[in-house]
Amino acid sequence: MSGAGHTPHPHGAHDHAGDHAAVEDVARPGYYEIMEIAVRELLVERGHIQGAEIHRQIDLLDSRTPALGAAIVARAWMDPAFKARLLADGRGVAEELGVSFYDDTGLIVLENTAEVHNLVVCTLCSCYPRPVLGLPPEWYKLKPYRARAVSEPRALLAEFGTVLPDDVEIRVSDSTSMARYLVLPRRPEGTEDFTETQLAALVTRDAMIGVVPVELPEGRPA
């Protein structure tokens, strides 16, 4: 059984220190985990995929976090020319910054303004701007968010604590496997003297999905 890759050790002892210890399982696996192990081992043994590819992909998944998106947002707030290019070609600009894309998927950046608030959903499944935000939160993949984002976005946003004035237009973008969306939130008031790094630290995952605004930390005068 060579090259089986990520097979969990049944005794819970890690016999190759540092080799993805965090993704090894110690508990007796459930039915679907057993299926995952079996499918993966068979594909590796028969040469369809390599165990090392799975390891590398896990590393890549772990490396994709909302910090990538936040850095892009902060740069756009600081640099109008950058923002213009970002809105015109989200994927190209993200790639310039070293973000890797895994297939032909496009990245479309949607700018929030005083008049328009953007919200991102995937009603059919769970398409999400993974290259710049990592994996989606559980709620993004579940029925209530997917069902209601398109039919009553204002009420749904209010449940996130985001109450928008009635004269703000809400635009909901429904993602597909080929078109993923990232919201460029509004820069908060009172950040005129912030550095790009300080700005990036304010930008949350949920703000880039469009469910909350970017806000100054508690206690800081706005």
Binding site: E24, A147, R148, E159, S177
Partner: protein, 118 residues
Amino acid sequence: MSEHLITRLPNDLGGQPSPPFERIDHELAPWEKRCHALADVLDFHKIINTEEKRRGVEALGSEIIGQLSYYERWIVVFANILFQKGILTPEDLALRMQEVERRWTPDGADDAGGASNG
């Protein structure tokens, strides 16, 4: 009245009546993360792409979709598609799943030492 059964696929949720929203999140279990990595690697090798995966989930039907978790659906779909493409057989998978399960039983534990030779 059966129209609702055919006018929408089970995963086409936009605008449907839904349970109340809850801001649920959790860290992925290690096997879920491996399952996600497997999906990406299968896509790279053009064995199963994202559209095939999504259609495969639709084909599970609403009862299975409703009862299985996100990555449970994925691994079942991968198995189904691999069967359809003749890359694995149901027997291959059943036998290997039995073997994997035995690694966690006391009698089979001794046989499992070589399994983590990764």
